[in-house]
Symmetry: C2
């Protein structure tokens, strides 16, 4: 075992975009697991839009990362030293950890991955740990799409959005996705089967969206907030649903961000806007994983992963999420399982 532990620590709360001075990359000693805990070595680090939330001190759904503490992340690793009977050395685990080669796990926040076959560990981690259940519960439980309804999803070529659209297609909906490049639009429309893809950077969103949704919108799966939310609100049908999964357009804002100008549509059309975090559905993960796994095996759901090698590249890579530079699930690979 190497004697050195490389670890990213939060040094400054970002103001606006994430800058190079918000995190520092340190070499430290490897921690020792206490009774009931275990030490694991990082294989994959998931990079997610919520990382920017955790860095800041905005109102959020769990405490922010403290200054000078290790940066929090969703991780997959291999147990190398264990003081817990359920976590044998060599076991593959995933859960909430930190951006470090070696780290301590406890059963409260890190679980065994179990046998993921026929899906490779990297794909199981990529799809089943966060983004798959997020799409599954957010769309089906909060969005409640019905056959023949129109579902719109933003960040549609993203890790969550791409699955949302495919699940909505499985449920018999008309699906419209918004993405930021022509390549992304081609992928969701030609490969994933979305009915319409809109490039929100080059097209007039209110106009194009109106044309793409001749029967209005029944479910808007919101990953972004901002102008796209406003354009969708304007088109929502009576009793429409807006599962609120993310508001990435405003995470990097330096000034207070106004809510949607069409907020009154919530009243006029009797909409339901409901926020959720996938952790709220933790008890029902097996259901989501089984169903999504089946759909993937049948070729009904395709996923795309963007893997960058090297923990040292984590800071530069996470920035991509906020400029739309990635496609599909973004991850750092330290060492393949």
């Amino acid at each position: 075992m190497s004697e050195v532990n490389r670890i990213w620590r939060l040094r400054k709360r970002p103001v606006g975009d994430i800058t190079d001075d918000v995190l520092s990359f340190e070499e430290e000693s490897i921690p020792e697991p206490s009774e009931g805990a275990f030490l694991f070595r990082l294989n994959y680090l998931s990079l997610d839009p919520t990382n920017r939330i955790w860095m800041s001190d905005m109102d959020q759904y769990m405490p922010p990362v403290e200054l000078d503490a290790p940066m929090r992340g969703v991780v997959c690793g291999t147990v190398v030293k264990s003081h817990h009977p359920d976590y044998a050395e060599g076991a593959i685990v995933s859960g909430l950890g930190v951006w470090a080669d070696y780290q301590i796990g406890t059963p409260q926040i890190v679980s065994p991955m179990g046998d993921t076959r026929p899906v490779a560990v990297v794909d199981a981690f990529s799809t089943f740990t966060i983004v798959g259940p997020t799409a599954y519960f957010g769309l089906l439980d909060i969005g409640e799409p019905k056959e023949g309804e129109t579902v719109v999803v933003s960040a549609a070529a993203g890790a969550v959005g791409s699955i949302v659209g495919q699940v909505a297609k499985i449920k018999g909906c008309r699906v419209v996705g918004l993405a930021g490049t022509n390549e992304k639009c081609a992928w969701i429309q030609d490969d994933l089967g979305f009915d319409v893809a809109i490039n929100y950077r080059t097209e007039d969103v209110p106009k194009t969206l109106t044309a793409a949704c001749p029967d209005g919108i029944d479910v808007y799966f919101d990953n972004v907030g901002g102008e796209i939310l406003d354009a969708c609100l304007k088109l929502m049908n009576f009793k429409g649903r807006i599962p609120t999964c993310g508001l990435i357009s405003q995470y990097n804002a330096t000034e207070p961000v106004p809510g949607p100008y069409n907020y009154a549509m919530i009243l006029m059309q009797r909409l339901r806007v409901e926020g959720f975090i996938v952790l709220d559905f933790a008890e029902r993960y097996p259901e989501a994983i089984a169903t999504l796994g089946q759909w993937m095996a049948e070729g009904k759901i395709k996923v795309r992963t963007e893997i960058v090698d090297g923990l040292e590249n984590a800071l530069q890579t996470v920035k991509k999420l906020y400029t739309g530079a990635n496609t599909g699930k973004l991850m750092i690979r330290v060492k393949d399982v």
Copy 2:
């Protein structure tokens, strides 16, 4: 029967506050009911915040009043000529009508009041036609308050808000109300039993509200939108509910109104924001009326009505709703039943 029918017609869509030129008061001939319809004479005209919505061409929940058409209103009247077997001459009816002495009713939009005893017709019309069921269904069905939770209501001395707070007290909640004068605050706290009343015009709302809600807010019954909504969002508890009944702070706006700056709290605290209109609950009116009637008979719910005599005063009187100049249900009386 007088030969002349006085009638208010919409001549101009208001820009900002309602001005004297948006409606004109005309003398016209009395209409003749066709087969299946009936003619009724106005007794009471309900004045409601939604009147301003109907005058405008903003996005809304039913078509706006057309220019030059009679102004729409919720009315109570007495049948004077009938071509419908269920609506005998002399029957007291209520429903959706117009601001006119005489008007045509049909069973689709006007219903018999039935025997309202022991409640006087004026009180039954005042409480049971719109505001009581609005408070009842909005709070109980959308807000789902549980014993011991904290419920906040804006426009708390208004016709709907005052009932919302009293029903929440019946359900065992801590109730905080916001109103615009010290007299209104004294009424809801001393006479209606609210736990705390906040004068939003003279007090620092975010600060006072924080002090008034040491355990956060579980249900915010929103009648107003705007800054009060923002202050409440900031204090919402995990899985809080925001029944959205009205957004009166923005009905008279002349520029686009930004949504709440704390919109992201919907995501962070997994809130449910849900719009509703009492008409959506039309089938369950008997339940609301029976329950509210019982509570009123037991003295658990008190209502206050502000009655202004004379249809000719309708335009000047409706303006009061948008300046907070009224207390309790605002009505025009043409002729007592």
